[in-house]
């Protein structure tokens, strides 16, 4: 470390940390000192591509299997994530729909869960900013309120998309995505490879290709290999961050701390620090996703231009959410599902159906006496609210798809993961109902931010990354 004391220490370099820093650095003085502690290392995209091509890379030593980074009690439920510079921007698939306004008001609209202490209008300008920073491609009309055009034009529809859009209007749209529809800002156009975790043509937004200017800023000192595990707290003020680097113990002090690791590690740090909030680590989870294959009669489903080509909102919002969950349709354009009947190879569409779930108390994250660096993940159940939505979907989908020449539908088993780790440090207005406030500041430790999707009060059916990035911009803007 270059300094004995910092104005700000940030833990992690993923979306939550990077967007928080982007706003923070734009607002504070030139003499500020910021320390960023990153658990992993820098593993360049070019080196990841070499490995994907079957070549060796010295950077492979920095790959940390997620299964070894946590203790996952229920091994049937998977929680893939990536550590290292850029965090999960190195493994996300670039889906950036906004939440619906109703997602923030589940209690008052539907009597489900709790309302968020922020609403859609609060986040709207920060959604705009995050979409600009990510150069999001998107349509002119959306089911959520949005002013102006997306930074990049929408991806091209397939013929199936065109029929569904004609039928459902803004309830069926080209997916807003950080997979570029045009070459822009050093990224290439998406070439529909559908292996977006490591994009073959670098079309997907990552922290590495973001040009955010955050980690190059002279005020920022970035330390790799620093595994933060706890905080030193005096009189409800966080004084120091405790971490392990190359097997040795270190401490760093600052005026303000921002935890921007994923919900597993953020929770682990809080619990190791002695956080007694009964909701810390509780009610984490993610959406439930399942695939439906749509066999088409004499129609090739061709012309799509990115992995998830469209989003369908026909089962998302409405009074049904009093009884069962919203469902977001992700319309896949991937080559996984071909047909083998002669002449019908491309006569198939596939939808991934994302169902929101509830923050259930029995799904929780704990720390471990055996290893302070490794959180333990207990995921035991899905809500009836979610399961009931699946049954409803199966009743409603044939009617929704009646505008297409459908031969048959085939439902596949739910996926073991969606790659969205949500909850564990939920936001609330009332300190008794959450861990952090509307600015992502811990209710008890007022110089501590806990960023990321862990702060979501409820889960939504939509992909979380854009919203957590907007929340980081919002929190830094309001606090500094």
């Amino acid at each position: 470390m270059k300094n004995s004391h910092y104005d700000l220490i940030v833990v992690g370099t993923g979306f939550a940390s990077s967007f928080f820093l982007k706003k923070y650095l734009a607002k504070v003085n030139a003499d500020q000192k910021v320390l960023v502690l990153e658990r992993g290392h820098f593993y360049p995209h070019a080196e990841r591509l070499k490995v994907k091509r079957g070549e060796q890379s010295d950077f492979q030593q920095y790959e940390e299997p997620w299964e070894q980074a946590i203790q996952n009690v229920n091994t049937k439920k998977r929680w893939p994530f990536t550590t290292g510079y850029g965090g999960c921007s190195n493994c996300w698939w670039g889906c950036t729909p906004r939440f619906m306004p109703s997602d923030f008001k589940m209690k008052s609209l539907f009597g489900i869960g709790e309302d968020w202490p922020v609403d859609y209008d609060d986040l709207d300008p920060y959604y705009d900013e995050a979409e600009t920073l990510m150069s999001v491609s998107g349509p002119e009309e959306t089911p959520f309120p949005r002013k102006g055009k997306y930074p990049l034009p929408a991806h091209e529809f397939s013929i199936v998309d065109k029929i569904l859009h004609k039928t459902y209007g803004n309830q069926y749209i080209s997916q807003p995505t950080a997979r570029a529809s045009r070459a822009a800002n050093g990224r290439n156009r998406c070439m529909t490879a559908s292996t977006c975790d490591t994009c073959p043509v670098n079309a997907k937004f990552t922290i590495e290709n973001a040009n955010l200017g955050v980690y190059e800023d002279q005020r920022v000192e970035l330390v790799y290999g620093a595994q933060v595990y706890s905080l030193e707290i005096q009189n409800d003020v966080v004084k120091k961050v405790l971490y392990v680097l190359e097997g040795k113990e270190y401490q760093a002090s600052a005026e303000v701390i921002a935890l921007g690791a994923n919900p597993f590690f953020n929770t682990n740090i809080l619990l190791n620090a002695g956080d007694k909030n009964p909701l810390t680590g509780r009610g984490f989870g993610e959406q439930l996703g399942m695939q439906v294959l749509i066999y088409l009669d004499q129609m090739k489903n061709v012309g799509g231009s990115t992995w998830v080509n469209a989003n369908g909102y026909m089962l998302y919002d409405g009074a049904h959410r009093k009884d069962f969950a919203a469902c977001l349709m992700e319309v896949s354009n991937a080559p996984y599902y071909l047909r083998m009947e002669r002449g019908k190879w491309l006569n198939i569409a596939s939808f991934r159906l994302l169902f929101e779930d509830l923050p259930l108390h029995n799904n929780y994250i704990s720390n471990s006496a055996a290893n302070k660096l490794v959180p333990t993940v207990h995921f035991t159940e899905r809500s009836e609210y979610t399961m009931k939505a699946i049954e409803n979907m199966k009743k409603a989908l044939p009617g929704i798809l009646s505008c297409l020449p459908v031969e048959k539908l085939k439902y596949l088993d739910p996926f073991p993961n969606e790659g969205h780790i949500i909850g564990g440090t939920r936001m609330s207005k009332d300190p008794k109902l959450g861990v952090v406030d509307q600015h992502l500041i811990h209710h008890q430790y007022r110089n501590l931010f806990v960023l990321g999707a862990g702060a979501f009060t409820t889960f939504s059916a939509s992909n979380p990354t854009l919203t957590l990035s907007a929340l980081s911009l919002y929190a830094a803007d309001k606090a500094f």
Binding site: M191, T192, A193, S194, S305, A334, P335, W345, L346
Partner: protein, 143 residues
């Protein structure tokens, strides 16, 4: 090892397909059966001579070519199992089509199908067969 467990391990007991003991006890010269399976399934295509064989060599080399896999292909060929009953055959066929110029030629059955190398978005010249790269907007028209 009990027979049922063996069948489960080899993946032959799924989908209601059971394999006679005599077949899985005989082993040599196995990769040819995957070739024969593909040629039987794609008998309506003009397959370039040697293409299927090269593909199968690469496919087995990439995915492992253990004894269980070898036995599986031979038994499936002799029992006349097709892609509808076997996920392994389905995947073998799907991967072959993606690894060839079949989709580049827009599934034109009159053209010779050539193997281009195992399908990989990181190495292969074959684009996503559904995509605008093969079916640009002006070709697919409006709804």
């Amino acid at each position: 090892m009990k027979r049922r467990k063996f069948l489960l391990l080899t993946g032959l007991a799924t989908g209601g397909v059971l394999i006679p003991t005599t077949l899985y006890l005989v082993s040599p010269g196995i990769k040819e059966y995957a070739v024969l399976l593909l040629e039987r399934e794609f008998k309506y295509l003009k397959l370039e001579p040697g293409s299927v064989s090269r593909y199968v060599d690469d496919y087995f080399a990439a995915g492992g070519n253990d004894m269980m896999a070898k036995i599986r292909w031979k038994t499936m060929y002799y029992l006349n199992i097709n892609w509808e009953k076997s996920d392994q055959i389905f995947e073998l066929m799907k991967s072959f089509l993606l690894s060839s110029d079949f989709f580049i030629h827009k599934t034109d059955e009159t053209k010779v199908v050539r193997y281009l190398g195992l399908y990989s978005p990181y190495k292969s010249p074959v684009p996503n067969p559904f995509s605008f790269l093969l079916y640009p907007p002006d070709e697919i028209g409006e709804a």
